[in-house]
Every structure is written in C-alpha cells, then in structure tokens.
C-alpha cells in the first residue's frame, strides 16, 4: 500500500496499472469519510463539538452549602447547543462514540485560612456524593483561591448529562475577579472513543 487510501501511485492515463475505476475513486472517498468520522464524529460535521461558557457575575455562597451552577452563565461558544442554562444548568453530550475533555473552573477573591472550597463534575444523576466524575478542592490561605476539576479523554455517550457542583465550608463570594478571570466550563470533543 502506497497511500492512505490503499491506492498505488497513479500513472498517466491511459494506463492499465492504475485504472481510474470505481474502486480506486471509492478508496479516495472512503479515506476522506474516515478522516471526517475520526476527526469530527461524522461525515456531515465540519468541526468538532465544543462548549465554552463562563460566569461574568458573582454571588455570595452560604457557608456549608452544596450548590449547583445555575443561571447567569454566558454561552461563549456552543457548537451543538448542548448547554442548557437553567436552575441548575447542565450539559447534554451531543455525540456518542467520542472522547471528551471536561474542565470546570471557579474562583474567589478571598478564601479564609483553612477554609475548604470544592467543586465537582457530576454525571447523569444529580448527586455529587454518588455520581461525581471529577473533583477539586483547595485550602484557604486568606487570599484568592482557584479550583479546576478536569477529566481528560473521557468517554461519554450521546445524551449523558453533566452538572457542576460547588461547596465551601465558610461564606465567600464566588465569581469573576481580576478583570477577566471567570468561572468557566469547557467540554470539547477530543477524538474517537
């Protein structure tokens, strides 16, 4: 095999060594189809699925409360209209047979010393104690604090739902700081399962 298509190097017509027949032309079509499916998820897609949403406001988080990300999130880009901004907000996986990078970040300008600030990415059943697939937490230092829960190359099925939880042991203000450091959610297709 010379080429990714399986075709040998072509020779000028007329040539019986590399006949321009249906088989050879279909090989070219099939290689193009495979690239589309592998790169994009199907022959009819023209780019990979990606969501990026951010929270450009702030709220006071009640001490000891488990909360879910709700309204106020801005869809920066959502190729498949997969992010539902509601109470709570959630992401619905649009394509099966793919792997996904899921990243959920949030922050506060002041986290008291030794306070615990934590976030979770939760799948399908909205219960952060039993259905979390990624978590992060940080110890307060009295200054700013940043959390980043990540799961990379994770296989999801079409229709899987993701929720995004947040907890803090003390009362803090959660939201955007220092200009453009926003709480942020990204979910992106990173290739075939």
């Amino acid at each position: 095999m010379t080429h990714a298509t399986g075709n040998a190097t072509w020779q000028d017509y007329p040539s019986t060594a590399t006949v321009i027949n249906a088989s050879a032309l279909e090989n070219i079509e099939n290689a193009t189809d495979r690239l589309h499916v592998s790169e994009l998820g199907s022959k009819t897609r023209t780019k990979r699925s990606v969501l990026r949403a951010y929270y450009n406001s702030s709220y006071v988080h009640t001490a000891g409360a488990d909360l879910w990300q709700g309204g106020g999130w801005v869809n920066d880009y959502d190729s498949d209209a997969a992010f539902t901004v509601a109470s709570p907000s959630f992401y619905t996986c649009p394509i099966g047979g793919r792997r996904w990078d899921i990243t959920y970040k949030t922050n506060t300008g002041t986290l008291p010393i030794n306070a615990n600030f934590a976030i979770k990415i939760v799948i399908n059943t909205q219960n952060l104690f039993t259905n979390s697939i990624a978590s992060d937490n940080v110890r307060g230092t009295g200054g700013e604090a940043h959390l980043c829960a990540m799961l990379q190359s994770c296989k999801l099925n079409a229709g899987d739902k993701l929720w995004f939880g947040v907890y803090c042991s003390v009362q803090i203000t959660v939201g955007w700081i220092f200009g453009y450091v926003y709480p942020e959610i990204t979910v992106r297709d990173v290739g075939p399962a």
Binding site: T2, T9, S38, F129, A134, G191
Partner: protein, 194 residues
C-alpha cells in the same frame, strides 16, 4: 491554486484543461496522506495514540509510591502500557516519534490531615521521582477531601521513551475513588506533530 491539493476546479470529462492525469490524482492522494500523517502519525494509522487507565480499588500510601499493577486500562490504542508486576513500576512506552504528547496523573482521597501534603510526578525513562521527573504538582491538605492533578501538555518525545508515574504523601492516606466515580487516573495521548 483553488484546492488544498493544488488542483484547479475540475471540469466535466472530456476536457483538455483539467486532465484526469497522474499528477492531479496524486495530489489528491498526497493531501490525504499528509492529513493522516499530521493527525495520526502515519498514513496507515486511523487514529492518534491514546492511553488512559484508572484505579477502582483503594491503596494505602505514606511516602513515595510508583504506579504499579492493578490499574484498569480504559483504552490503550498501541498496547504501549507495560505492567511488570508489583513492586516493579509500570510504564508507558511512546510508540512513535515526531509528536507532542499530553501527560497526566491525578488522584483523590476521601480525607486528609490538616497541614499534610500530597504530590504526584511524571518521570521520563527512569522511575526515580527525585531525579527524573518532568512534571510535578503538590497540594497542602486541610482535613477535608484531597485532590491533585498533574498535567503537562505538548511534550516532545521519541519512540521508545518510557513514562512512569508516582504519588507521594507526607502522612498515611488511603487513595481510592471518591464521590462515586472520581478515580485515580493516568493518561498519555498524542497531541499532534512536532
């Protein structure tokens, strides 16, 4: 040039201005070859290399512990994960050259001591966390859950390079899945051409 192939727009055959000749057909082939090589590392590959494994049980740690046996392989496209068996460290062998690689290890624990520390490292070619680490992360613990995630993107590696993973804690901890499905994870993936 109209197309990525370098070919002009085709006209219906027969036509003398856009001959279906070897040059134009090979242009089509070459573009597909280049796409395959750029995306997957070779014309015969159909996807980039990906290895991902997780740990569903629990283990005690107090000091340094290298990733060994017992990890569940989610996917290993190139059969590159070697498990010699405990206590020998397991490792991933980079399957082909000319690429950048994303490397990652994360692990959680349900409870931690106040003022403890947890760290994790990724090593190149030698399982020696003090001398061969190429990525590291640490966390001060606070008496609650503990989570650590070490990620290094776009590392240029060559075929045969070996990647090891280690964990360390300052006090005795139990590493295990937490909150349902948050497992210890390790991952190596082809991130594109160098």
């Amino acid at each position: 040039m109209t197309h990525a192939t370098g070919n002009a727009v085709w006209k219906n055959y027969p036509d003398t201005s856009t001959l279906i000749n070897a040059a134009r057909l090979n242009n089509d082939e070459t573009v597909l070859d280049n796409l395959h090589t750029r995306e997957y590392g070779g014309v015969t590959r159909t996807r980039p290399a990906l290895f991902r494994a997780y740990y569903t049980g629990s283990f005690a740690i107090n000091g340094t512990l290298y990733v060994q046996a017992g990890w569940t392989v989610d996917i290993d496209t190139d059969s590159a994960w070697t498990v010699p068996g405990a206590p020998t460290p397991s490792y991933y062998t980079i399957p082909y050259s000319g690429r950048f690689w994303d490397l990652q290890i994360s692990f959680p624990t349900t409870s931690t001591p106040v003022d403890g520390a947890m760290t994790t490292k990724i090593m190149l070619n030698t399982a020696a966390d003090q001398t061969a680490a190429i990525a590291s992360d640490s966390r001060s613990t606070n008496g609650w859950e503990g989570n650590i995630n070490c990620f290094r993107p776009c590392v240029p590696l060559v075929a045969g390079d070996k990647i090891y993973f280690s964990l360390w804690t300052s006090t005795a901890l139990t590493v295990s899945p937490t909150f349902g499905y948050w497992y210890p994870h390790i991952m190596v993936r082809d991130a594109g051409p160098v």
